[in-house]
Amino acid sequence: MVTTRNDSRLKKLTQVALGIVTSVGGFLEIGSITTAAQAGAAFGYQLVWSLLLGTVCVAFLVEMSGRFAACSTCTIPDAMRERFGINFFVIPLVVMLGVSLLVLAAEIGGTAAALELATGIALPVWAIPVALLAWGLLWRATFSVIENGVSLLGLVTIVFVVAAVKAHPDYGAAARGLVPTLPSTNKAHYWFVAVSVLGASISPYLYYFYSSGAVEEKWDASYVGVNRAIAAIGMSFGGFLSAAVLVLGAVLFHPFGKDIKDYHDLTQLVTPILGRPGFWLFVASLGIACLGATLEIALALAYLVAQGFGWNWGESLPPKKDARFSVTYTALIAVASLFTLVGLDPLKLTAISMALTAASLPVGVFPFLILMNDESYLGEHTNGRIGNAVVLGISAVAAVLAAVSIPLEVIGS
């Protein structure tokens, strides 16, 4: 008895460590890198608060989705279809598919951009190889290989923290940025960038993916504590990575009035400080982070559809055991790669998709919160008031800001 209890404790401790590593390694992607960099470049440290809000909200959401999966052994789409019926379920289904398809396209573009920076061969050429690589990994690898492998490699993104510290930022100014203030000029753009940062941090695919992972790994109610530790520590460290990118934008771009207009500009976040090795570490970070996100989004969307319609699903099953699920992610990757194939700028795609993510947050988050307060799924582990208030408040603010600032940004440009 004693040994099994110790074994299970050790197993859970390993789970926590691994969970934190994967959260950190998987936190950054094209959205969080570019929006944080643009926020720093355009407004210095003034938008640190938007990163803080986004990170707090996503930490709560990830904790909730893991707790939901552990206590109910259902995934979120599963419960959403069952609890609200098909007539409601199609709304979040269609909205999430549409918005996340654009995010997927941006991630494929980001991976292709990294390959262009590394080889000098133009971005559109890489669309098909990147799509094939991502698809091949999903086709052949199991869930744990995808999640743990890509996230371990993703730890290379810590280079942003190293560079940010070496850049000697003004820590006092960064801390003052935690409190929202209005800029003296360029107000419309300020809110648009704030919204993009929120959208990039609170990606719905992230918590959908996390909940399906917990079900794939057969978590039960005894994992509530493990899950809380992973969400809190993993997401906080992840938020630090984004903050480091913002700091680099604030130090290297803002004082010189430089803007990040193009993905080539992104290399200047690290290269001036760490030199040639910095350039290569940046390219590796961008490529791995975006490839990892490509895999996660394609899977999250295939989970959403398969669970919503009651198909067989599971990344650890061979494709012939879940044909519809496998064909779904294959089709999504194929469609999303077309954006890069026709030469669409990944940065533009990112800006649009992050803002739309923020605008559409309530569609996924509100019904999710209803589920999180339903004792028939969670028993004694339903949400507390703080969790409800934080997630409801931040996602409502993000959506309202998005509804106001997206039209202004479109008119402005």
Binding site: G85, F309, G310, W311, N312, V327
Partner: protein, 120 residues
Amino acid sequence: MRIHLVSHVLDKQLVDRDGENAGRVDGIVLELRDDKPPLVTYLEVSPITLLSRFNRRLAEWYARKDRKFGEKRGVPFRIPWSRVTQHGPTLDLDLGVESTPINAFEDWLRVKIVERIPGS
């Protein structure tokens, strides 16, 4: 045990006797009887039923297309209520999904596309 048809049966995940996912409950069929309360007779698992919850004409259009694929197609597939038991978060079926048309599209995709790709 009390069971609510809409919240506990409709749209719930179905699992066959081998543990395979067998779609979701797209519709519930009640039999109306003279001087007696209605009786649950079948569950329906079919895109036709699902579409009819949005729009009848859409469902009829789909049924017409579906009819071309075989004799028993074009009408919603029905499972007798007597072959269903509740089990945790799912409803269990006392039959194998391969004997039903529920996974017909899954099987078609597997044979025509997925198994032809290496590594499947």
